[in-house]
């Protein structure tokens, strides 16, 4: 469960995040939807404690990232925008590294990797070096790496970026399975179809502020539109960034 209240972050003159508030409940998928440069990534970076907020409050299962950074990192699984795999290591070694950094034992890591390899269908490439992996393979390894320590809360930044249709389907299926297992999932995206297909709750962010917040039906109703795309344009007040 994530509670964010009036979060603010400025880089010099640029107010990247300017008063963002939302909630992400357990057993739900929450989508942060917004054009490029709206402040989604900055918000996520504050959630996983790599950026200190200028002001505002964050609670993840009652913990504050600015004070309990280590504790929060243990309960979070993060798939950042930059996948950043080590190309001279195999997929398995990449995942083992993160398991060890989380202080897990060898046996526990091995067992968990078996599980994730089956779930994410990585059997073909788990023992290959990640040099030359396809986008889909890379995202799978990045997810497995983020999930190795069974985090309760999962943050994903643009998870379907660069994925083909099949990989996107597999990804969505996996995210839904996380919801069924009671995890709290937050994903940021600029793709309308993604939120429509996945999210229980949509937080529209534009220019560092929350433009609207609710279920898909609620947003349609508020905007008085037929399609989510029209609603999105109406709610953020411009078409900027939609085509990106």
């Amino acid at each position: 469960m994530i509670v964010v209240k009036d979060l603010r972050k400025a880089f010099g003159e640029v107010k990247a995040v300017n008063g963002v508030s939302f909630e992400a409940r357990d057993g739900q998928i929450t989508g942060l939807l917004g054009p490029n440069g709206a402040g989604k990534t900055t918000t996520l970076r504050m959630l996983y404690s790599l950026l200190p907020p200028d002001s505002g409050e964050i609670r993840i299962d009652g913990l504050d990232p600015t004070r309990d950074a280590m504790e929060i990192k243990r309960t979070l699984g993060v798939v950042p925008d930059s996948r950043g795999l080590y190309t001279r290591l195999t997929a398995r070694e990449n995942i083992v590294y993160y398991g060890e950094l989380h202080g897990m034992g060898k046996a526990a890591i091995a067992e968990r990797i078996e599980e994730l390899t089956a779930t994410l269908d990585m059997g073909d490439f788990i023992d290959r070096r990640t040099e030359g992996f396809s986008q889909g393979q890379r995202v799978k390894v990045a997810i497995a790496r983020a999930m190795v320590h069974r985090p309760q809360t999962v943050l994903m930044d643009e998870p379907s970026n660069g994925l083909d249709v099949m990989s996107t389907r597999a990804l969505r299926e996996y995210v839904r399975s996380l919801r069924s297992a009671g995890h709290s999932v937050v994903l940021s995206t600029h793709i309308m179809q993604e939120v429509a297909a996945l999210c229980d709750r949509i937080v529209i962010i534009a220019k560092g502020e929350v433009a609207a917040d609710g279920t898909a039906e609620q947003l349609l109703e508020r905007a008085g539109c037929e399609s989510l795309e029209d609603a999105f344009v109406k709610l953020i007040g411009s078409e900027e960034g939609l085509l990106a």
Binding site: S49, L50, M70, K73, L76, S82, G84, L89, L101, G103
Partner: protein, 392 residues
């Protein structure tokens, strides 16, 4: 601390698989420098020998004015050549290193017992002609003093009166202390190796990680950042040390093939000497790893980091260059200056001088102190978000 160990083991595994890392750290220095050293020595020695053994070819202008001088030169093995048209031009064009001109007034002055003029035409700014110039001048002054003795004897004066001082050489240098070139060259090479051995790793584990976008996910793990950075620096230090150890071993292997004698060198690196050198230089590896990691952490990419490294590599050269230009005697206070102290100590060790234990201690402690201070700075650097995300 388990985070530190995990990072260390992963960096080692990853970089052992990296051909560029292996080449830079473990092959380039250890192979290149000793071969360069031996090659240079062979070249210098054979060039020197050639110059000494070769008969001296000497064109003479106005040979007819001084037949007895010419006879003397020929007796000494000089090949007298016919007079060229324009001697100055010949020397200027580097066709001849040295030409002798006997002036027309030579016989007249000679007969009067006055100094008879000869000209040695040469360009001493050309290194390669110096040997020939030296030989010609030695022959001329040899002829001069021979004639001087004869003239004195003819007048009933003992020639000994004309040499009031007798110079005798009492040479106390041992063959080891004459290994001057090695004393300058080896510390220089080792100091550079400590840095080159660390360079690639320092860049790859920081700027490289940032460039591959794996730094951000890495820092989301529940491991304190100082442990992550320290794990990386330990890896870099280990590679630098391996590079140093291999360089020393390879020096030990090639030294027996060195042309000994020409430079009065007798240099063997025993195991004891190797270990002592390694002990002296080890803190430099830590200093280099910390300094390079600190600098590379500011760079956004491997390439940007590389542009800093070009300047940094000058640092370990400074002490050696100073000592080459101006050799100084080792004193206790110098041991507190990193890089200088190692330079001096390695020199002393090679010369097999007895070095006070306190000097070792002071050198190690002062270098470690600065190295660790830099390491602490580097370890806390990624607490600044700006450096994690680079430009974005």
């Amino acid at each position: 601390m388990s985070g530190l160990t995990t990072v260390f083991l992963k960096e080692v595994r990853e970089n052992v698989r990296d051909r560029r890392a292996l080449f830079n750290s473990l092959l380039l220095g250890p192979l290149l420098f000793p071969l360069l050293f031996v090659g240079l020595m062979w070249f210098l020695e054979s060039a020197e020998r050639e110059r000494q053994e070769q008969a001296l070819e000497l064109p003479v202008v106005g040979a007819e004015y001084a037949p007895s001088l010419i006879r003397f030169l020929e007796q000494q093995g000089t090949l007298i050549e016919a007079a060229p048209e324009d001697p100055e031009e010949l020397v200027r064009n580097q066709e001849k290193p040295v030409i002798l001109r006997i002036l027309p007034e030579y016989p007249e002055k000679w007969a009067e017992g006055l100094p008879a003029p000869v000209e040695v035409i040469s360009d001493p700014s050309r290194q390669e002609s110096n040997a020939a110039i030296r030989r010609v001048k030695m022959l001329l002054s040899g002829y001069g003093s021979q004639i001087a003795s004869l003239r004195l004897q003819l007048r009933g004066v003992s020639p000994q009166l004309a040499s009031p001082v007798m110079i005798k050489d009492v040479d106390l240098s041992t063959p080891k202390s004459r290994a001057i070139l090695a004393v300058i060259f080896l510390p220089y090479v080792l100091m550079i190796t400590a840095f080159t051995g660390a360079t690639h790793l320092a860049m790859d584990t920081t700027a490289g990680e940032k460039e591959r976008k794996s730094l951000e996910p890495l820092l989301i793990n529940p491991v304190p950042r100082w442990q992550i950075m320290t794990g990386k620096m330990v890896t870099t230090t280990v590679f630098a040390m391996a590079s140093l150890a291999l360089t020393l071993v390879s020096f030990r292997i090639v030294l027996p093939y060195m042309p000994i004698g020409a430079f009065g060198m007798d240099l063997t690196l025993g195991l004891d000497t190797l270990l002592r050198i390694l002990l002296v230089i080890a803190p430099v590896a830590i200093l280099a790893a910390a300094l390079l990691t600190l600098l590379a952490s500011f760079a956004k990419s491997y390439r940007e980091a590389q542009s800093y490294m070009g300047l940094v590599i000058l640092i370990p050269m400074i002490p050696s260059l100073i000592f080459m230009a101006n050799p100084i005697r080792a004193e206790a206070w110098m041991m507190a200056v990193p890089l200088f102290s190692q330079n001096l100590l390695i020199g002393e060790i090679i010369r097999e001088e007895v070095v006070p234990a306190a000097w070792y201690g002071l050198s190690i402690v002062s270098t470690l102190a600065i190295g660790l201070a830099l390491a602490v700075m580097a370890a806390t650097l990624y607490n600044r978000p700006k450096l994690i995300f680079g430009s974005s």
